[in-house]
Assembly symmetry: C2
Homo-oligomer: 559 residues x 2
């Protein structure tokens, strides 16, 4: 019942095939992506990611391997109850075991129970794997592929066949590898996906081998079966390998958001989609969706709790950042001179970076971003640059802490308002042998000549300090109750100094509709945290006073 | 004088040209790599890197742009006083300014003063840049290229010509772009390096355009001039683009260690060298040097103070890590099934990863790594797996903290010796408004029924705690004086919880010849640090008792 309802709702796939040069993006972040070392996903995480991919217009989302993992079974149930709006959710599984029938293999029952229209089943292409891993005959492997797909087809499902280790298998025994594809076609697979499972293949090999497959399909008279590509980045060429296959006629591209995946990762869809769509003229997702790509990449990195790769192509925070003095002045005159695409097309932004290599022109350009007009001849400009370099020598970094940079500029210009003054703090932590570690903080704050001493507890020293500061300041600035700490990051600047190392703390704050980041540096992590928290509160108060238009710019620039 | 001495010593280049299929690796980590956002290098850093590259057998090392930066002038002086053993250090500069002569252009004097044999000069290939950035005529740009190179040649130098924005320039105006190369050849350049400055070019375009250049050189009768390639990763294809050019005949590959560089980085030499040498049969560096590649990559990431990319192809900590249950059992039977090269060839290692996806076979395989024989049927094995999953749910991660994992296994097996017992700690920090933040810690330790109360100060709460612990324990275990904290890392597990978030601390300890890493997790950063520091001390004491051979394995596995 549920299954048929899903079939009726799912016209997305058929509709899009009528478009020209259409490609099918197949996301496997939830399955292959989750194989990345250091990444593990809860059921809720998986649902968040699936809905985000759906909103991004990804047509196929691989949910997982039902039966192999209890979380994956639940995921399919939850998506049956609250279906995705556009995307097909796909169940993934191996072909049946040797020497049984697909109908009798208990491992295939949960796949059908997942209730998806589309099933991806993977089989062995490499003779070595058949004999060494499956420990069965080459003939039985062919039967396993064909029988499994036929079984799913007989149950009304549509099948994508993932040819595992395709390229290694083809290089080792091309005749046998092609036999496995023939078995998949005979079974009724609609896509044959060439997988570079070990990631060792280079682009020129993909070109040659994909061409052979396309030719073989034509020779077999199979015009309705399409080719797909699934690549890994062990040779640093996952994206180029996928592009090579598309240029030979592959129409399905399997990859993951941010290139997550085992070892060196899978092909990064955040790089592939703009390459295919903006440079090669293919159609993958709607253009209005493409402009959500950067935000989607960052959202998913937050869900999986991994720091985003600032240097990722297209979507990274630094992808359109200009640091060198020559570049900065040229890019201001004509963006085309130093940018391969317009950052807005993928929802990213141009940034002028302030660093100790910064010339005066970078500092002035940055000031203009904030609506602050600094003249080149103004002695304040040089003074600011000097101060900046000194602070960066101490370990401050303003690249990711633009709110602190603005406060610094306002200090130099004499336009920084003193909202409050803090006369130091004390923090105390006590851990008896079995209890949790309690923390207590006291602060002394002066606002409009009134002195206030406050104390608060927390589950750690920084949260106690934060609580005490807010408690004191809310007496004067009730809006502080709206401010939230969105993110708290700690970086040890010189790890080799061990526990005496300098610590840099970044604090991201929010007032519900704007976000800003501040920085603190000290050998004492509590002192560094204190600096960043205090500047975060100050900047939030300053934002409340500004015109809305100005604030929006600031908020965006700190995203 | 100095210059001629360098020429005589420099037979490296000539010697190698006689080898077959030789390629020339040209490292620009010190110049283009340093453009990466978040990276800045001191003079000493640059010297460390240059010497490491020299040891790795990289034939050309670009030192910087003398005159543009006082640090770079000093670098060349220092390298004249203490020359590299093998590599050519190269000075980088722009062509002369418009409407002067190279001999009269003051910006070229510091280039000669740098005293290098080789100079790389870059010129404009893209007509748009000539008119928009240089604001000069197309003819004058050709004169600038030829005149600059002729001038350096007249001073006895050898010249590499970097054709900036080559691919964009060629696409926009192929005739003019080829004219610029002709000017470089006329001036006497020995290499024409095709630069994809904006990183927007895709591999099939590199193939076509590089072919045109090679053909043009043949048509001009220039058989001694060679082609090079310099790519950026804005399209995620820097490595593939460089490979494409090599396959069309390019013999010089410019890139950076770990792919550092502006925006999305340069072509990563740590990926390119193994691809070229192990897969395509070219000769780049000696094989005994290739096996130092992983160590060199990690060394340089330490010097530049950036966390290494664990997922980097070939050299990343995860590049040969196996997590999925199927993979682990297969790779143990036959590494070829899931590894594209032998990790030892690039000085990396196979790793079995313990995570909440781990099956029992991973835990058993890992235990064998430590010389602990756990039987599959042993109830302890299942119990250990269960405990592991619970701890990982709390935020512990043993992937990078193998010493803590071993202590956990020893606990489960009843072979963990109790060296000491700690009865809690207290930490106090006090910051008055202008002073630095002082920290004081007290600990109570019990060893062999004796109780000891100790107190210590530190420049932060964790260093005070560490000092108090060592002070107490050294009374019983004087060898602790040899232990050093090599690295201290803090990760906020759920940044969104702000300062109340859970904190994971990793501590790397050393006894001078072995290194090991331990982990602690708590909402209280001091508690998390305390756990990791205490386990680090315990593990160090345990190591002292073990056989040397066993200890070496442990030390290597925690690198």
């Amino acid at each position: 019942m549920k299954y048929h309802r899903m079939v009726e709702n799912s016209t997305n796939y058929q509709r899009q095939t009528t478009m020209s040069k259409q490609l099918w993006i197949y996301d496997t972040t939830l399955r292959d992506g989750a194989q990345r070392e250091g990444l593990s996903l809860s059921l809720e995480d998986k649902l968040h990611i699936a809905r985000k991919l759906d909103q991004l217009g990804i047509p196929f989302i691989e949910g997982g391997w039902p039966g192999a993992n209890p979380k994956d079974v639940q995921l399919f149930w939850r998506l049956t109850e609250e279906p995705l709006s556009q995307a097909e959710i796909v169940a993934f599984c191996s072909t049946r075991r040797p020497h049984t029938t697909a109908a009798e293999d208990p491992s295939l029952k949960p796949i059908l129970s997942a209730g998806t229209i589309w099933i991806t089943t993977f089989g062995k292409s490499w003779d070595l794997h058949v004999t060494e891993s499956l420990k069965t005959s080459l003939e039985e492997n062919l039967a396993m592929i064909q029988d499994t797909i036929e079984f799913f087809r007989s149950q009304g499902r549509r099948v994508i066949y993932d040819a595992e280790h395709w390229f290694d298998g083809y290089k080792n025994n091309p005749e046998y590898a092609l036999e496995t594809l023939k078995a998949a076609v005979a079974g009724g697979a609609e896509w044959l996906v060439l997988c570079d499972t070990n990631g060792g293949t280079l682009p020129h090999e993909v070109t040659a081998i994909a061409k052979t497959v396309v030719t073989a399909l034509a020779n077999w008279g199979e015009t309705s079966v399409q080719v797909g590509i699934h690549t890994h980045n062990d040779s640093g060429t996952a994206v180029a390998n996928a592009l090579a296959a598309v240029m030979e006629g592959a129409t399905m591209i399997q990859g993951t958001i941010n290139g997550y995946g085992e070892r060196c990762g899978n092909a990064d869809l955040c790089t592939l989609i703009p390459n295919l769509q903006l440079k090669l003229g293919y159609s993958c997702i709607a253009n209005e969706h493409l402009s959500k790509l950067s935000e989607s990449s960052r959202f998913i990195s937050e869900v999986v709790n991994l720091a985003p790769d600032d240097h990722a192509p297209f979507v990274g925070l630094s992808a359109f950042a200009h640091k060198g003095g020559i570049h900065v002045s040229a890019v201001e005159r004509n963006p085309l001179t130093y940018e391969h695409i317009a950052p807005e097309e993928v929802g990213n932004k141009r940034r002028i970076v302030i660093s100790d290599q910064s010339g005066l022109s970078n500092v002035l350009a940055k000031a203009r971003n904030y609506g602050i007009n600094l003249e080149r001849d103004n002695p304040t400009s040089r003074q600011l640059l000097q101060q900046l370099k000194e602070l960066e020598n101490q370990g401050y970094q303003f690249e990711a802490a633009e709110a602190s940079f603005e406060l610094l500029m306002r200090s130099a210009l004499g336009t920084r308002k003193q909202w409050f003054e803090i006369r130091g703090f004390q923090v105390h932590c006590d851990k008896s042998s079995l209890a949790t570690c309690n923390s207590l903080a006291t602060v002394k704050v002066i606002v409009s000549d009134r002195e206030l001493l406050e104390v608060a507890e927390g589950n750690g020293p920084v949260s106690a300090l934060d609580a005490a500061l807010r408690k004191a300041l809310q007496n004067f600035y009730p809006e502080i109750a709206e401010f939230q700490l969105r993110d708290y990051k700690v970086r040890i600047l010189d790890g080799k100094a061990g526990t005496s190392a300098k610590t840099r703390v970044l604090v991201e704050s929010s007032n519900g509709h704007q976000r800003w980041t501040t920085v603190g540096v000290s050998t004492n992590i509590l002192d560094a945290s204190y600096q960043a928290v205090v500047e975060g509160l100050e900047y939030g108060l300053m934002l409340q006073q500004q015109t809305p238009s100005n604030s929006v710019i600031l908020a965006e620039s700190s995203l």
